[in-house]
């Protein structure tokens, strides 16, 4: 109520401002008239009496001002006054205003975008009810867990209200016309109830729908899929669709704001996990050792249960499971993670990256503030005459500072508004961006009040930051000296605060330029590095025979027919098949044991190489060089001895050397002895930044029985040709149609598929590149401002020098020497810091190294060019000084 009252009085004062002013004016006038009446009575004539009365009254303007203050309407009055005055001043120097607003808009815009991303990815992950108590379960950095382990955790814990789980699946969805591969979730029955999601249409499935394997053939559609594919047809509920040729009933549609429980990934449909066998053609629901059962288990903590209690609870269950199932379960140590990121699997790197980005963009803002601070300092120095005059006329220093700050605030708010508007556009574009062609990514970047708030706060803080730079100047100003000596009198040689600001700003910009160059170079190099395969001129065909109804023994012959069909396409040089291409950000790792080992527990494993199941001809098609031995033939089938091809790293770590490895044996988890028949070159298997790892290739005909099924129905055809890729794609599609009309397939060049792997380094490079450009622009405006200021300040001095016969070179040196020295100093400091910072970069961008002559030379060149560009106009101005005219004018 107090606030309301205050507000009303302020509002009343604003609206009745003129009445108050009139009132005070009249009253003071009345006083003077009364006094004059008295003086007149004592014998003066009227005019003289009024003059004397006015003198006796004292500083009328000052008392008027103090009166307003006493009436409480003063701050608003002054503010309005200051804003008007500042706007007038800013309008008078449009160049300065535009430069300042643009600088700030860029800096605040960059911060708003980065914060928007941070907000969407880290701070506000899922948009689910009661999210603060929702946690995902993480084991060893990832959320993957086997289904039996999940069930034990769910049924035996005392900390969670309920635990639900889900996994991603790609299934052929046939809604009547064209069967197409669609991404969806297989979720536990309690999934929707645990999350508190209610259907938009129809119903969702519940725990009570689960009655053992394949008991719940229901599908729930995601709103956007329903909207696009069924055109909002409310009659879809109850319709039967085919999921991988199995009939499922559509029972409902989820609400529009629900996008599943993963942050980046929006499934198109949800099916019960118990129906996994129908959906995937295989089931891991009983495989306790298989951590691919679920991607993440998540649930709400019970009220009053702390995270530490929950972790202890889970670990007790984990320890018990380890004891009960020593063969399958090891390292059962759990932590709680933010939900929606597959445990901490995606969370940790994203957080690190976004935090790094945030840090850099705050640096940008600081650089912008330093920049504007020195500009404002220079401007205040230019205005020292005006300030001195105002001080001499009785204005208080507080009043002058207030006006300067108002000006800074106006600029910062202007810059903030422009920056925010720009960032809104950018964020909107980012949220509809689909970086991976095959996977439906969604990043809900819709900016909320938090983003607006941060932008506003940043604008205000930066306004204060650069606004206080001239404060000391004004406080120290001695009006008498300044007016006597003229504004240009003091041109000290000592290092000023402004110089330090400029050097700091240039250093920050040099850091940004260095990091962006390091990132770009790293990316270019990683694109040309040796992957252990050659993705040029190769088409990948991703098929899942299960989607077309091929299972068990029918899979392998069909795959063989596909390979043969591909080989008949003109221009095709070689064809192979693998269950997973390398560098797809996915990978199976499998424990292997030395031949002598008899204790085949996970803790006893000799190595954990990446495992690929490949067909004969794969190495030729993928372009992986065979170093010694042989590759597979169709005779390496179930009845033949088990064989493997390994990479050099495997040979070195397990057998000591390539020659020792040839013909040697190792053991798989189930005890099968496998003979090494060939060795291929090392490569990258999971991501570009990985360390060199062992890898083994097994023939698809012999896929080990511990896998889900043998052979895997999910496979990639690798087709190498020397023909036109576009034509090749069409030819592959028609060949597949000939084999089976209903087989869904993704066909794309291998280079395109690798986009996913290159996503992180590319994003990092683009982000750093943008920040680098921002930094460069800031250093240009900073150096330009400084140089232009120093030239304009020293016009007269330079004119005298020229009149006395100074050479152009000397004049330039005098005018710009300081700016250039600062530039050099700042650049060197920035370069050194940048080199340190790029060590961090090396984690994200493969082969990012700062110890690279091209990067170093690039930074030096870039900073020199920036300096040249920024000092060009001031230099021109200095050169064109006409000493005669200048001296006459002053």
């Amino acid at each position: 109520m107090k606030f309301l009252g205050w507000f009303r009085s302020v509002a009343a004062k604003l609206f009745h401002r003129s009445r108050i002013v009139d009132d005070v004016e009249q009253e003071l006038g009345s006083h003077i008239q009364h006094r004059a009446d008295d003086l007149e009575r004592s014998g003066l004539d009227r005019r003289e009496a009024e003059r004397l009365a006015r003198i006796e009254f004292g500083g009328r303007e000052r008392y008027k001002e103090e009166s307003y203050q006493a009436l409480g309407g003063n701050s608003i009055e002054i503010l309005i006054h200051d804003v008007r005055f500042s706007l007038r001043l800013l309008r008078k120097s449009p160049g300065f205003t535009a430069a300042a607003i643009l600088t700030l808009a860029l800096a605040i815009g960059a911060n708003a975008v980065v914060f928007g991303v941070l907000n969407a990815l880290v701070l506000r992950p899922l948009n689910l009810p009661q999210e603060q108590s929702l946690y995902g379960i993480d084991r060893g950095g990832i959320g993957f867990e086997s289904y039996p382990n999940y069930r034990d955790l769910r049924d035996r814990n005392h900390s969670f209200e309920d635990l639900a789980a889900y996994t991603m699946t790609l299934a052929g969805l046939d809604t009547g016309n064209d069967p197409s591969p669609v991404w969806g979730f297989e979720a536990t029955g309690n999934y929707f109830d645990m999350l508190g999601v209610h259907p938009y249409l129809g119903r969702v499935f519940h725990a009570s729908d689960e009655h053992g394997p394949n008991s719940a053939p229901y599908v729930v559609l995601n709103y956007s899929y329903w909207h696009v594919h069924f055109q909002d047809d409310r009659g879809v509920v109850g319709r039967i669709v085919l999921v991988n040729k199995h009939p499922f009933t559509i029972i409902g549609v989820t609400p529009p704001e629900f996008h599943g429980s993963m942050i980046f990934f929006a499934p198109s449909f949800y099916v019960p996990l118990v129906n996994q066998e129908q959906v995937q053609g295989e089931s891991v629901l009983d495989a306790r050792g298989n951590r691919r059962g679920i991607i993440e288990a998540l649930g709400h903590l019970k009220p009053g249960v702390t995270t530490a209690q929950a972790v202890a609870d889970l670990n007790a269950i984990g320890a018990d499971l380890e004891k009960t199932y020593p063969k399958e379960d090891s390292k059962m140590v759990f932590t709680l993670a933010r939900p929606g990121l597959g445990g901490d699997f995606l969370g940790a790197p994203i957080r690190a990256f976004v935090a790094g980005l945030m840090l850099l963009s705050v640096l940008i803002l600081l650089a912008a503030c330093a920049n504007l601070g020195s500009l404002f300092g220079a401007r205040a120095a230019d205005r020292s005459r005006e300030v001195a005059l105002r001080l001499a006329l009785g204005s208080s220093r507080r009043r002058i500072l207030r006006q300067l700050l108002t000006e800074a605030m106006l600029i910062s708010l202007g810059g903030g508004t422009v920056g925010l508007l720009g960032s809104l556009v950018l964020l909107r574009q980012l949220s509809v961006w689909q970086p991976f062609p095959r996977i439906p990514m969604t990043v809900p970047l819709s900016p909320d009040s938090k983003v607006y708030g941060v932008a506003l706060a940043l604008a205000l803080v930066s306004g204060i930051l650069f606004g206080i730079v001239p404060v000391r100047q004004v406080l120290k100003a001695n009006p008498y000296e300044i007016i006597k000596a003229g504004a240009a009198a003091r041109m000290g040689r000592r290092i000023t605060f402004r110089d330090v600001l400029l050097a700091v700003q240039i250093a920050i910009c040099a850091v940004l330029v260095t990091s962006s160059l390091v990132a770009v170079r790293g990316l270019v190099r990683s694109l040309h590095s040796n992957f252990g395969f050659d993705p040029q001129n190769v088409m990948l065909v991703n098929t899942d025979l299960n989607m077309a109804g091929y299972r068990g023994d029918r899979v392998l012959p069909m795959q063989k027919r596909m390979l043969e069909a591909m080989a008949t396409i003109p221009g095709v040089k070689s064809v192979g098949l693998t269950d997973l291409p390398p560098l797809a950000l996915d990978g199976h790792r499998m424990d292997i044991y030395s031949d002598k080992s008899t204790d085949l527990r996970p803790s006893n494993a000799a190595a954990q190489p990446f495992m690929f199941n490949v067909s004969p001809g794969y190495f030729e098609a993928a372009g992986t060089a065979l170093i010694s031995g042989r590759s597979f033939t169709w005779h390496d089938d179930k009845d033949a001895p088990r064989v493997a091809v390994i990479n050099q790293d495997f040979a070195r770590t397990i057998f000591g050397s390539v020659t020792n490895a040839m013909g040697a044996y190792f053991k798989l988890r189930d005890g099968t002895r496998v003979e090494v028949v060939g060795i291929v070159e090392d490569g990258k298997y999971f991501s570009l930044a990985e360390k060199q790892s062992p890898a083994m290739f097994l023939p698809i005909m012999q896929s080990p029985p511990s896998l889900l099924q043998s052979p895997s129905s999910f496979a990639w055809l690798v087709v190498r040709s020397n023909g036109d890729q576009q034509m090749l794609g069409a030819a592959i599609r028609s060949k597949l149609r000939e084999l089976d009309e209903g087989l869904p397939a993704y066909i794309s060049p291998w280079l395109t598929e690798m986009d996913a792997v290159l996503f992180a380094p590319r994003t990092a490079t683009v982000a750093l590149g943008v920040l680098g450009v921002l930094g460069a622009m800031l250093s240009i405006t900073g150096i330009f401002g400084m140089a232009a200021y120093s030239v304009s300040k020293r016009m007269r001095e330079l004119g005298i020098r020229m009149a006395l016969g100074a050479q152009r070179k000397e004049v330039l040196q005098a005018a710009l020497g300081r700016s250039i020295k600062l530039l050099a100093l700042g650049s060197i400091a920035g370069l050194a810091l940048g080199i340190l910072a790029s060590r961090v970069l090396a984690v994200i961008v493969y082969q990012a190294t700062s110890r690279d002559p091209i990067v170093l030379a690039g930074v030096v060149l870039a900073m020199a060019l920036l300096g040249l560009l920024a000092t060009w106009i001031p230099a021109q101005r200095a050169m064109s000084i006409d000493p005669l005219r200048l001296l006459r004018e002053e």
Binding site: E27, S30, R35, G58, R60, Y63
Partner: protein, 113 residues
């Protein structure tokens, strides 16, 4: 004029209250009244009166209304409110205590200690 005393900070408010307590007055009238009751011993710059008046009005110890002065001019007349009368009593008391204390402290003779 040199024998006029400078006002101590804060005393102007008390003087205004005292002047107004003797009957409603306009601003110039308050100045005259202060001069009259203080024996013209206090130096007050005329304009300085007004910020003080407005402050007191805003605090609710004075209330003001426009009227016509003895010179037949429009003027704003001030009078004490109930709160004003109370304030005047309290501040007079505390001023007297202060003055007595200051007087006895400054008037003390060596033999009295």
């Amino acid at each position: 004029m040199t024998d006029q005393a400078q006002l101590l900070p804060g005393t102007l408010d008390l003087l205004i209250l005292r002047a107004v307590s003797l009957g409603p007055l306009h601003g110039y009238g308050i100045l005259l009244r202060i001069g009259q009751i203080s024996g013209k011993a206090l130096l007050i710059e005329q304009g300085a009166l007004y910020p003080g008046l407005y402050r007191l009005e805003r605090q609710g110890v004075l209330k003001a209304s426009w009227g016509t002065s003895e010179n037949n001019r429009r003027a704003k007349f001030y009078e004490l409110t109930a709160a004003g009368r109370k304030r005047l009593r309290e501040e007079t008391k505390s001023w007297n205590r202060l003055a007595a204390a200051m007087g006895s402290a400054l008037g003390a003779q060596p033999e009295e200690i």
